[in-house]
């Protein structure tokens, strides 16, 4: 049986925790929930609920897609957690993964725990301050620093968008959502997400993997901020974070985009031209090189293992190859789509039971 977001919220509502989360006694926040369900925030493949203890608030991230629960994705998150702590990163909150933490429809799901960032979501913060040029230029400066920090530390966030940037109580930028977080020491061949299409390069593919993925979205946001600083009326009072300023179509067809033409008339060429050149380039890699010609120098892999650790790794016997368990299918249904989430069954089973049989 596949698990829906509604199932997860119901399990949280019923307190179906399977293990101690290590944050002491807590209660779940319902302040902005609907239909007596907990408050939540929806990500691409995980959803977030908020837990409150006497002293702290935590964001509890729970996977809603099958792909987010696979062992490789979870191991990668655990590794990212270690690296963030090791390098004392200040642009991303530390987090911890607890396996088998929440029971939903008989399945045990992991929960990723991170401190809840009190602050503003980026899109509304910009909208509310669109006439405050000092604040907008400060955000531009912070984004430039953020890009340098991410590259210097050997990371890439993988999914920078206005939804994944928060402004904390002191006005500082903080990134959230570690789903596509990547470090040069982690070997990955495929990105788990392609990011928000209204802020990422239209030619980005799953094969594009960090570092450098952050550059295009950061530069687009920077260009948007320059534009708003000159012409605040171009931004709505309450913009939709899914299409904060541009649409996917604007980025795919910049030469015919009315909005892009408006931006061109509003800001200096030096802010506009690199983005247009990047959008017209034949791949994300080329676009990134246009925006950041020194990308190959600043993003050299950082070796995090000490010599001792490497020797230890070398002396471990190789593990035997794992035999993959084959999944059985109803022959008529099997070919439908991508994953378990899309398989259809239809043979004498109780309602809602989606498992296939031979």
């Amino acid at each position: 049986m596949t698990i829906s977001a509604a199932d997860i919220l119901e399990a949280v509502d019923q307190g179906s925790w399977n293990t101690d989360l290590g944050i002491g006694s807590f209660s779940i926040d319902y302040s902005t929930g609907r239909f007596e369900l907990p408050s939540f925030r929806m990500g691409a493949s995980w959803m977030v609920v908020i837990a409150e203890t006497n002293t702290c608030k935590y964001a509890l991230r729970i996977p809603k897609l099958e792909s987010a629960k696979n062992p490789f994705a979870l191991e990668k998150l655990e590794r990212m957690s270690e690296i963030l702590e090791e390098k004392s990163i200040n642009w991303f909150p530390d987090f911890r993964l607890v396996r088998d933490a929440l029971q939903v429809n008989g399945e045990l799901l992991p929960v990723l725990i991170m401190p809840f960032i009190e602050g503003y979501n980026f899109s509304q913060y910009i909208a509310d301050n669109r006439y405050e040029t000092e604040i907008l230029y400060d955000l531009i400066h912070q984004l430039e620093m953020l890009e340098n920090d991410i590259l210097r530390d050997g990371f890439d966030h993988g999914d920078i968008s206005v939804r994944n940037i928060l402004i904390d109580g002191t006005g500082n930028i903080m990134l959230i959502d570690p789903d596509a977080l990547h470090h040069t020491t982690c070997s990955l061949s495929r990105s788990p997400e392609l990011g928000c299409s209204s802020i990422n390069h239209p030619l980005r593919t799953p094969r594009d993997i960090g570092p450098g993925l952050c550059i295009f979205p950061i530069r687009i946001i920077t260009m948007i901020l320059h534009t708003i600083a000159k012409e605040p009326s171009l931004l709505q009072d309450n913009p939709d974070p899914q299409a904060f300023f541009f649409t996917e179509s604007d980025l795919r067809n910049p030469s015919s985009s009315v909005r892009m033409k408006r931006v061109k008339r509003t800001i200096k060429k030096k802010y506009f031209r690199p983005i247009i050149c990047a959008l017209n380039s034949p791949s994300l890699m080329k676009a990134t090189e246009i925006l950041r010609p020194d990308i190959h120098k600043v993003s050299k892999p950082v070796v995090l293992f000490t010599v001792d650790e490497m020797l230890q790794l070398d002396t471990q016997p190789p593990s035997p190859p794992q035999v993959k368990q084959k999944i059985r299918h109803h022959p008529k249904m099997r070919t439908l789509s991508l994953s378990d989430e899309f398989r259809i069954s239809n043979s004498n089973k109780k309602e809602g039971d989606g498992e296939d049989v031979e």
């Binding site: 792909s67 974070p241 649409t247 309602e351």
Partner: protein, 274 residues
């Protein structure tokens, strides 16, 4: 579907509420109509959670419309009054679900099975609504779901060939828009052999008519499929309760999952490697 507040989608349900949906499934536990209502309401809740409720706010990314075809009428399916445009904004529909005891799924759509199935008239009315929506929101996606247990005689028996041709012609105009998806789910309590997402039309006239009424499934549903058969109709014939549930679950995902998310969903290799 790429849905935003400036490019909202329309989700439209056309539900067969005829007397025949008042029978139980083969297991004798639940009525067809109860399953239809339950899965439709679950679909709508999934849209609230996954598509329109964002950071504590309702975002008007999806307009919703639903009709129940029963007796002689095509009835507006919601308790909230039918607006002139015949669809509700997200602020209107997302907040109008009625919470009930012992269920985590609120009720938006509720009806009592009765009378015949004027589904044909329901289609004609729905196509007009979609046409109006397309005029107001050009290029915006439309996702229509037809749920029926009807048979040839009930749905088409009284219709002339000319009427059927007219209906097809009107549908073809709407189908020309690539952002239109029509999912046709035909249910049956009789445990008949199901036909799910076929690549070609069945031999019988009724099955063929429903096949033609459905659109092709959006290509994103088959991205990376290894079977080389990506042209499948958004159509299920003789679905049982489980098939109905899974079809609508898939349908809601096609509405709220961004194309990019679907494209990047890693393959389940165990599933495709034989």
């Amino acid at each position: 579907m790429k849905i935003t507040t400036s490019n909202p989608g329309l989700v439209l349900f056309l539900i067969d509420g005829s007397h025949s949906t008042g029978v139980t499934w083969g297991d004798g536990k639940q009525l067809l109509s109860e399953s239809i209502m339950k899965q439709t309401n679950q679909f709508i809740l999934d849209l609230v959670i996954n598509a329109v409720f964002d950071d504590g706010e309702i975002r008007d990314r999806i307009k919703l419309s639903a009709f129940v075809a029963q007796g002689e009428n095509i009835n507006w399916a919601f308790e909230i009054e039918q607006p002139p445009e015949k669809w509700l904004s997200a602020e209107e529909w997302a907040n109008s679900g009625r919470k009930v005891e012992n269920s985590n799924v609120p009720i938006w759509v509720e009806y009592t099975p009765q009378g015949k199935t004027p589904l044909f008239d329901g289609w004609m009315q729905s196509f007009q609504i979609i046409s109006d929506f397309n005029k107001q929101f050009p290029g915006s996606p439309v996702f229509m779901v037809t749920l029926t247990d009807g048979d040839f005689k009930e749905l088409l028996g009284s219709k002339t060939d000319q009427e059927k041709e007219d209906m097809k012609a009107q549908l073809d105009v709407i189908k020309a828009d690539e952002s239109f998806v029509h999912l046709v789910v035909h249910i049956s309590p009789d445990n008949l052999e199901p036909l799910a997402f076929p690549t070609s039309a069945p031999n019988d006239e009724f099955g063929c008519f429903l096949f033609d009424a459905a659109t092709w499934m959006p290509a994103i549903a088959f991205e990376n499929s290894h079977d080389g058969q990506q042209n499948r109709r958004a159509y299920i014939l003789n679905a049982d309760a489980g098939g109905l549930s899974k079809a609508l679950e898939l349908g809601s995902k096609l509405v709220y999952l961004d194309n990019k998310q679907l494209e990047s969903t890693p393959l389940n290799h165990e599933e495709v490697e034989e």
